[in-house]
C-alpha cells in the first residue's frame, strides 16, 4: 500500500493526522462496480423470470399439482377483494400490495409474484427478462473471472481477504462481533485492513454465494444438464437448484443491505471515494511525538 500525507491539511502535531492510503487497486474498483451493475440487472430480471411461475419446489421435478415449499399468489376464493399472499411451507402471510397481488402501471390490482417496481422490465415479459438475465450472466461470470485472476496475480485475495490465524481466534472474532454490534468501526492503523467479520463476509460472498448463483443457474439449463449431469445431482435436482438459486440471491440481497449500511455508518464519503479513486483517509497519531 502506498501512502501520501494529505497535503494542504496543516494539522497541529498534537491532533491525529489524516493520511490517505491507497486502499483498492484499479482492477478491484472496476470489477466491483461492474459486479454491482451485473448483480442489479440479474436480480431484477431474475424476479421477472420468477414471476412466470412464482413457486419453488424441492427435488427433480415440480409443477402446479406438486407440493411447493414457497409460493406467491392471490387468493380470490374468499369474499371481498382478492388477497395477495406469500406462503413459506405451511405459514401464509398477507402481503397484499407487494407480493402476490400488486398495482400495475394503470393503477389496478393484478396477480403478480413480485411487484412491477422490482422487475425488469416492469411489465410482465418473460422473454425480455431472460434476454437481460443471460446477457448480464455472461458479463457477470467474465467479470468474476477477471477479479479472481487479478486477485491471485496481485495477491489481493490472500493478502486482503484471507483472515490471519490470529484474526480467526474466538476471542478476536467475538471482539469484532461486539465492535460491530456497538457500531464501533476501526480508526487509525486498524482501518488499513479489513476486520475479520468483513473478510469472512467478503470471502463468503465471493467464494460461496456468487459461485453458487452461477452453478445453480447452469443446473437449470437443460443443455448444461446434458453436458454436466453431476451438476444437477450436486443440488439434488433441477427444482432444488432453482430453489437454492433463489435462496442464494436472497442472501446476496441481505449482504448488499448490510454492506451499504456499514459503508454509510463507517463514513459514506470516505468509503465511496476509496472504491472510486482508491484513496482512503485514515487518522494516525503523529509518529514524531
Amino acid at each position: 500500500m502506498t501512502e501520501t500525507p494529505e497535503t494542504g491539511l496543516a494539522t497541529p502535531s498534537q491532533r491525529p493526522r489524516r493520511l490517505a492510503v491507497y486502499r483498492h487497486a484499479r482492477v478491484t474498483r472496476l470489477t466491483h462496480w461492474i459486479n454491482f451493475l451485473c448483480v442489479s440487472v440479474l436480480l431484477f430480471s431474475g424476479l421477472q423470470i420468477f414471476n412466470a411461475h412464482p413457486a419453488l419446489y424441492w427435488g427433480q421435478f415440480g409443477a402446479d399439482s406438486d407440493p411447493s415449499i414457497f409460493e406467491l399468489g392471490a387468493d380470490e376464493s374468499r369474499a371481498g377483494p382478492p388477497v395477495g399472499f406469500a406462503r413459506i411451507g405451511s405459514s401464509t402471510f398477507d402481503t397484499t400490495g407487494i407480493l402476490g397481488l400488486s398495482r400495475n402501471a394503470s393503477g389496478g390490482f393484478a396477480q403478480r409474484g413480485f411487484p412491477a417496481w422490482l422487475t425488469l422490465p416492469s411489465w410482465r415479459d418473460l422473454a425480455m427478462g431472460r434476454r437481460w438475465h443471460f446477457f448480464f450472466a455472461w458479463l457477470f461470470v467474465a467479470n468474476l473471472l477477471v477479479y479472481v485472476a487479478a486477485g491471485l496475480a496481485n495477491g489481493h485475495l490472500w493478502r486482503d481477504l484471507l483472515p490471519s490465524w490470529r484474526q480467526l481466534r474466538p476471542r478476536s472474532l467475538l471482539q469484532d462481533v461486539a465492535d460491530h454490534l456497538r457500531l464501533k468501526f476501526p480508526r487509525g492503523e486498524a482501518a488499513r485492513h479489513y476486520n475479520p467479520l468483513q473478510k469472512l463476509t467478503y470471502l463468503g460472498v465471493i467464494g460461496v454465494l456468487l459461485p453458487a448463483m452461477i452453478l445453480t443457474g447452469l443446473a437449470m439449463s437443460p443443455g448444461m444438464d446434458a453436458i454436466l449431469p453431476w451438476l444437477v445431482d450436486m443440488f439434488g435436482g433441477r427444482q432444488s437448484a432453482r430453489t437454492i438459486h433463489f435462496i442464494a440471491a436472497s442472501l446476496i440481497v441481505l449482504f448488499v443491505f448490510v454492506h451499504v449500511a456499514m459503508a454509510l455508518l463507517a463514513g459514506p464519503v470516505n468509503e465511496l471515494r476509496s472504491m472510486i479513486t482508491g484513496r482512503f483517509l485514515i487518522s494516525v497519531e503523529d509518529k514524531h511525538e
Partner: protein, 259 residues
Amino acid sequence: MSRIQLPRRRFLALSAAGLGGALLAGCDRLSETSEVQEVLSSAESLTYRVQRLLGGRDALAREFTEADLSPVFKVNGSSMPEGEDYAALLEGNFVDWRLRVEGLVANPLDLSLEDLRKLPQRTQITRHDCVEGWSAIGKWRGVPLAIVLQRASLLPTARFVVFHCADVYERALDGTGQYYESIDLIDAFHPQTILAHSLNDAPLSVGHGAPLRLRVERQLGYKHAKYVMRIELTDRLDRFGRGKGGFWPDRGYEWYAGI
C-alpha cells in the same frame, strides 16, 4: 460533526433511491429499444456455441426411472387445437392422419401412425423443463427423428428441420399465429430426439399433443412441438412465421432454448 453528517447521509440515501428509480425506468426504456434488444440477444449465440462446443452432438439428457415420474404431467400451451380438420382426425382416432416429410429431401414421405409404430422405437424417461420454471418427468415412446430423416434422405443443402403444427396458438391478423418450431441438424439427429406418440405407456392425450409431438430433450418445453402434422427440411428459417424459427422465438424467446 454528526449534525453535519446527518443531512449528508439523508442526501445520499435520497440520491440512492432516486438513482434506483431512474435506473429501473431507464431499463424499461432500454427494453423497448431495438438496438439494446439486439445487444442483449447476442448472448444467445454465445450460449449456443459454448453448449455445442462442450456438449458436442451426443451428450445425453439425464434419463430417470419409473419411480421418478411426476404424478401429474402438466398440460401447457394449446390443450385442444381448433378447427374441423383436427376434430375429424381426433374423431377417427387419427387413422386418417398422415405425417408429411418434405422440403429439401430426396424422398418425401407420408407416414401413418401405424407406419411410425412399425419403425424402430425408443423409450425414454426424461425431465421436461418449461421456460416458465417448472419441470415434470414423463416416459415418452416414439420413433427417433434420425430414422425418419434417413428414410427421407436429406439433400446436402438442408440445415434445419421445421415442425408445422395443427394448433393456432394466437389469432394473429397476419396469419402467424400457427404453432411451429425448428431445430438444427445436430439436435435432429441426436439419439434422444424422437417423434413421440405415447406418454406414460398411453397414446398421447390431446392436451399433450396427440397424435405426435417432438421431444428434443436438451432444450426447453416450447421447442417440443405438439400436434405435428408436417416436417419440412429447409436451408433457412426466415421464410416461416415472423422469421425467427418458431412461434415463441417470433415473440422474443430464444430460438436455441438450451438455457
